[in-house]
């Protein structure tokens, strides 16, 4: 347990209005100006701007309020407490494991701090194909600058850890350019445990920046309270129905009687993240005249290659993901064969052991080589080709969402090319053994052997290990009503007092870790919303 100053405990002591979970239960009805569903990247930015303008804001978060005194860098506590479905959320056919936050701060509390502005080719595609003419580099630039200032996003000047330096060195040997990743940190201790919640409050997540700012301005935060559905009448939301006493586990649900609270607001901001935002609308029976809701949900499907080096790598320590290469995004057209971004993820025992394939001796050898293990991941840029329409969010009979995301041949062709690229880089960096994460792969000791083997592997879902930490789309923005769920100004096309302010807005994947895209785009949208609601102007920084 961290013994450092805890800004959340301090805020609570100052009198922040927090209800739900271990705090006082929310009343039966709450009235406010704006209700924000979620407390992650989009919700946090919106909450700070709306409260700055003097609006009475209520933030509704399904997960718990945890802070640096709780973050003890232990996966067995972090995953159940801070992640959707205990970090084991899966697509409908179980072929993709999805990491998403479920706590105050959302995924920003547990992400690996990688910060990229939305790439220009992605914005160009949105302008050309989705009528988002104002989404261009120049127009968005001031909104990104403010977000970067507010969240201390900048170059990471500490040398990369060995895990990341191997990517840099391997790529350099092959003449592949690799660059440094900007991070949203202030006084980072270089621990490497970002994924379990920052124990030193260095990561400038929503948990320690915008949410505290909103609470200091008088916003009310409901935790462990789930937005179940909107009540709709005449094209407007008349109320939001929430339940509390909601724990991650059904056992707890049996103990606590679930209770309801009704939130009546003039305006609603849905920022529950992709998958969950469309799910709230699906549960509400929201109008969807063109069948767009929940469709075009993207994942940056990730494939991985694991390698063993002579020297120690200790991929658990040091800032995660500080080096990347976009070489394989740039070698073909954005709407051609799928491109991919390469990064080096951090490894801790549970995440590592659950990805080491097989059993018995071969598994044991890989487990024992943990300190020498270096894994690369490839984020595939989905959503830019007609054969990459993404997935569809559906509801189970209990109302919980599930994403149906078929891994078709177009994507699996990218998976094979990505595995080949990663293995070649790992051998170039001096790997003694390389194992692409596929149930039929072996450990290979030369690049020639690995290339031949991977070219012959059946690239099928479930055989190929595929994961995702970037869920985007499902409430896509478009300039024409029949192309999307949301207008270019963030307003729902059919519901007049609803804005959608999160990654579910994106009409394609981003082609880069999406947190800064959410901050920048929502900063633009929330400033517009403030202007419409109050006729005043506010800025993030």
């Amino acid at each position: 347990m961290s013994k450092l100053q805890d800004p959340i405990k301090d805020g609570l002591a100052r009198g922040w209005k927090v209800m739900g979970g271990p705090f006082a239960p929310p009343p039966e009805q709450i009235t406010c100006d704006v209700a924000i569903i979620g407390s992650g990247a989009g919700a946090g930015i919106s909450a700070e701007l709306l409260t700055k303008a003097g609006l009475k804001v209520v933030i509704i978060e399904e997960g718990p309020l945890k802070s640096s005194s709780d973050f003890n860098q232990k996966e067995s506590e972090a995953y159940p407490q801070l992640y959707q479905e205990s970090a084991a959320r899966k697509t409908e056919d179980k072929a993709i494991n999805i990491l998403q936050g479920r706590c105050v701060g959302g995924s920003t509390t547990v992400n690996w701090t990688s910060s990229f502005r939305t790439p220009a080719p992605t914005l160009k595609f949105w302008q050309d194909k989705f009528g988002l003419k104002d989404y261009n580099v120049d127009a968005l630039s001031p909104y990104f600058e403010q977000a970067e200032r507010r969240l201390s996003i900048g170059p990471w000047l500490t040398p990369p850890n060995e895990n990341n330096d191997l990517l840099r060195r391997g790529a350099a040997k092959l003449g592949i350019p690799a660059q440094a990743i900007a991070r949203n940190v202030k006084g980072c201790w270089n621990l490497g445990s970002c994924g379990m919640g920052c124990p030193t409050n260095a990561k400038q997540s929503m948990l320690v920046t915008t949410i505290p700012a909103a609470l200091d301005q008088g916003a009310q935060l409901l935790v462990e309270t789930r937005a179940e559905r909107f009540e709709l009448a005449n094209g407007r939301i008349t109320a939001l129905l929430c339940s509390f006493g909601v724990s991650n586990t059904a056992v707890a649900q049996q103990i606590h009687v679930r209770s309801a609270t009704k939130i009546v607001a003039s305006h609603y901001v849905l920022a529950a993240g992709a998958i969950n935002s469309p799910a709230v609308l699906l549960r509400s029976g929201a109008p969807d005249p063109y069948g767009r809701l929940g469709e075009r949900t993207f994942l940056h499907p990730v494939v991985m290659s694991s390698a063993v080096f002579e020297q120690k790598v200790e991929a658990w320590q040091g800032a995660p993901q500080t080096i990347y290469t976009d070489h394989f995004l740039e070698t073909q057209a954005i709407d051609g064969p799928i491109g991919y971004k390469l990064e080096a993820p951090p490894l801790h025992p549970v995440i590592f052991a659950s990805t080491v394939p097989g059993m018995g001796q071969s598994q044991h050898d890989l487990l024992k080589a943990f300190p020498h293990n270096h894994t690369l991941l490839a984020l595939m840029r989905d959503g830019f080709h007609e054969q990459s329409p993404g997935g569809r969010v559906k509801l189970r009979s209990d109302g919980s969402p599930v994403l149906d995301y078929p891994l078709n041949d177009y994507l699996m062709d990218g998976a094979r090319r990505a595995m080949l690229s990663m293995m070649e880089i790992q051998f170039a960096a001096g790997a003694t053994k390389v194992l692409p994460l596929h149930e039929m792969a072996q450990t290979y000791t030369t690049w020639g052997q690995a290339r031949e083997a991977v070219n012959a592997l059946p690239m099928k879902p479930l055989l190929t290990k595929v994961v995702s930490a970037h869920v985007m789309g499902g409430c896509g923005m478009a300039g024409l009503e029949n192309q999307g769920v949301t207008r270019p100004d963030g307003m729902h096309w059919q519901i007049e007092n609803l804005s959608i302010h999160d990654g579910s807005l994106f009409p394609t994947s981003i082609g880069a870790n999406p947190q800064l895209s959410v901050y920048g785009v929502v900063n633009l949208l929330a400033q517009g919303l403030v202007k419409r609601l109050t006729r005043t102007e506010v800025k993030l920084a």
């Binding site: 961290s2 013994k3 450092l4 003890n72 860098q73 232990k74 996966e75 067995s76 995953y79 159940p80 479905e85 205990s86 084991a88 409908e92 056919d93 179980k94 201790w189 621990l191 445990s193 124990p199 030193t200 991650n248 586990t249 059904a250 056992v251 649900q253 658990w316 801790h348 025992p349 549970v350 590592f352 052991a353 659950s354 080491v356 097989g358 059993m359 018995g360 001796q361 598994q363 044991h364 487990l367 024992k368 943990f370 300190p371 189970r396 009979s397 209990d398 919980s400 599930v402 149930e439 039929m440 479930l462 055989l463």
Partner: protein, 168 residues
């Protein structure tokens, strides 16, 4: 009702339900009140010993103790799963606990406690590379739960050469 639930659950294919359908009304759940039932524990003891074979202690008493700890960690892991995932897992285990289900889904003729490690590993390998998605999904779930649970506690980190987090 139970039969209807079975058909709805994603992890269970229609073909498999047909195989064990006759006994479906009588089979026991794999989980009760969020914990493994004796039948569920028996399956995970066998599967845990097979998957983690070389990583468990050699000495029989220490090995038994390690497997018992694994089961307790699996219970902890399961208690944090959402209801839909738990329902699927319970269903999977209850099918594996029947003779017909064990043979059809795992391809294992010996009972769980009687099967040798090589027999269990061969059965798991068959599921892993099966052309039936339901068998692959079952393997993936059992493998992930076993490996994640076992290495979730500091006592097992020595094998991994992981020093644990820095004290802040």
């Amino acid at each position: 009702m139970q039969r209807r639930t079975l058909i709805k659950l994603g992890v269970v294919s229609a073909a498999l339900v047909a195989v064990v359908g006759g006994t479906a009304a009588f089979i026991k759940p794999g989980l009760e009140r969020g914990s493994l039932t004796p039948a569920g524990r028996e399956i995970f003891r066998a599967i845990g010993s097979a998957i983690l074979n070389k990583s468990l202690p050699d000495q029989p008493a220490a090995r038994q103790a390690a497997v018992t700890e694994l089961i307790s960690r699996i219970d902890t892991l399961i208690s944090a799963l959402p209801e839909h995932a738990r329902a699927e897992l319970s269903q999977l285990l209850s099918i594996l606990a029947t003779g017909a289900g064990r043979r059809a889904l795992a391809g294992l003729s010996a009972t769980w406690p009687d099967a040798s490690v090589p027999e269990l590993q061969a059965a798991l390998q068959g599921m892993r590379l099966s052309s039936f998605a339901v068998r692959q999904q079952a393997y993936a779930a059992l493998h992930e739960i076993t490996a994640s649970a076992y290495f979730s506690e500091p006592g097992t980190w020595g094998l991994l050469g992981y020093p644990g987090p820095l004290v802040i």
